[in-house]
């Protein structure tokens, strides 16, 4: 049984995302963001379905200002797909499950 999606911070981002051996999808979000809440269930579902192949983490942009600004993020939700520590794909705004899965499959 998979655990829920883990939170990463400015302090743990390098270790959890950049140094990760499995590809990582980072969900940049904040509690005041309606669309972020709306896509959360889709991410949870994908988190379960891709266990072992893809790591999904979330980063609260309110508590962790430096990570989002280092990627020039000025909109949430923003999803960034990292592979071998490199950013390979970025999705801005609400996304449906089919499109997200397609992006994941093409990058795994």
């Amino acid at each position: 049984m998979a655990e829920g999606i883990k939170e990463v911070s400015d302090a743990t981002f390098d270790q959890e995302v950049i140094q990760s051996e499995t590809p990582v999808l980072v969900d940049f979000w904040a509690p005041w963001c309606g669309p972020c809440k709306a896509i959360a269930p889709v991410l949870e579902e994908i988190h379960k379905n891709y266990e072992g192949q893809l790591k999904i983490v979330k980063c609260n942009v309110d508590d962790n200002p430096s990570t989002p600004s280092s990627f020039g993020i000025r909109a949430i939700p923003t999803l960034i797909f990292f592979k071998g520590g490199e950013k390979v794909e970025q999705i801005v705004g609400m996304v449906d499950k089919a499109k997200l899965e397609q992006t994941i499959k093409s990058n795994l």
């Binding site: 896509i39 942009v61 909109a75 939700p77 089919a98």
Partner: protein
């Protein structure tokens, strides 16, 4: 008679679709609601709704959505994640092709809503998420003390520009006419807000930027012909909506802008098929009108089924 999976399938889980679901479930129809993205639609990106009755202080879009969803779930309506790819709406059994399965229904309510319209200017797509936005509630906090542009003159443009002023230093509200279309109470608030400067008779011709995202917009004054750049870190676009009718493709009659044509009972030209809310050709696109449409259409679906 051939059996259908459901009495009613509702396409879209915004205020119109969910209200239809509520009425249909209380009439004991078997109902499925399909949502492509996330329940809520456009109101998920609406900061504050103060014209939906029953909430004297107003309510945030996501909170109102949550309440509507809770209410529908009390009546055991299934809300499924699924995108309709194509439909066959002829005859007594309608078939909806989803990306992963096929669903049949005796009646269909199309409540697929609308999406923000693009400006269609250079730089717009390039800087999405890096200064270009259609969602103030999502993105305004990234523009603390910044100068931003906002484009539009309707209720959404003015309401969301007012929200932006809680964060930014200044908003240039760029509007192509010499008066705002927004409702009077919003026009007055915009006029009285020191952080909002309205650029009348003007359009944004280009959104410029660099590695750090947007850094300027090119403004054309339509009366004088003057073209100038304004230094801004963001450009928010609220210039109306386009109907989400891509999957409809010829199945029901649309108006010239792509909105679904209905009669006053929300019936399309196909028997047993109805349309509600923003996707319908209606003079007013509000939460309350979508909800009203939903009630009317669910009632019509019920009458249609009784008379089959």
């Amino acid at each position: 008679m051939i059996q259908a999976d459901y009495d009613l399938v509702i396409i879209g889980a915004g205020p119109g679709g969910l209200t239809a679901a509520l009425y249909a479930a209380r009439a004991r129809l078997s109902v499925l609601v399909l949502e492509k993205l996330a329940p809520g639609g456009q109101i998920l990106v609406t900061d504050w709704i103060e014209n939906y009755p029953g909430f004297p202080e107003g309510i945030s879009g996501p909170d109102l959505m949550e309440r509507m969803l809770d209410q529908v779930r009390r009546f055991d309506v299934g809300v499924e994640s699924g995108e309709v790819v194509s439909m066959d709406l002829d005859g007594p059994i309608k078939t909806l092709q989803l990306s992963d399965k096929r669903v049949t229904a005796r009646t269909v309510i199309i409540a697929s809503g609308s999406s923000p319209q693009n400006l269609g200017v250079p730089g717009e797509n390039r800087y999405i998420g890096r200064g270009v936005s259609t969602c103030a509630t999502c993105d305004a906090p990234f523009f603390k003390d910044a100068v931003v542009a906002a484009v539009g003159g309707g209720d959404t443009a003015v309401q969301e520009s007012l929200f932006l002023t809680r964060f930014v230093r200044k908003v240039y509200l760029v509007h192509r006419r010499d008066e705002l279309r927004a409702v009077k109470v919003l026009r007055e608030r915009a006029r009285d807000n020191e952080k909002i400067e309205i650029l009348w008779d003007s359009t944004v011709e280009e959104i410029k930027g660099g590695d750090a995202g947007v850094n300027a917009v090119t403004i054309r004054n339509l009366k004088t012909g003057d073209v100038s750049d304004r230094a801004v870190e963001g450009c928010f676009i609220w210039v109306g909506t386009i109907p989400n009718t891509g999957f409809v493709s010829g199945q029901v009659d649309l108006d010239e802008q792509g909105f679904i044509i209905t009669d006053d009972r929300r019936r399309t030209n196909k028997p047993g098929v109805f349309a509600v809310g923003d996707v319908r050709n209606t003079p007013l696109r509000q939460v309350v009108t979508a909800a009203g449409d939903g009630a009317v259409a669910a009632n019509e679906a019920m009458l249609y089924l009784e008379n089959l």
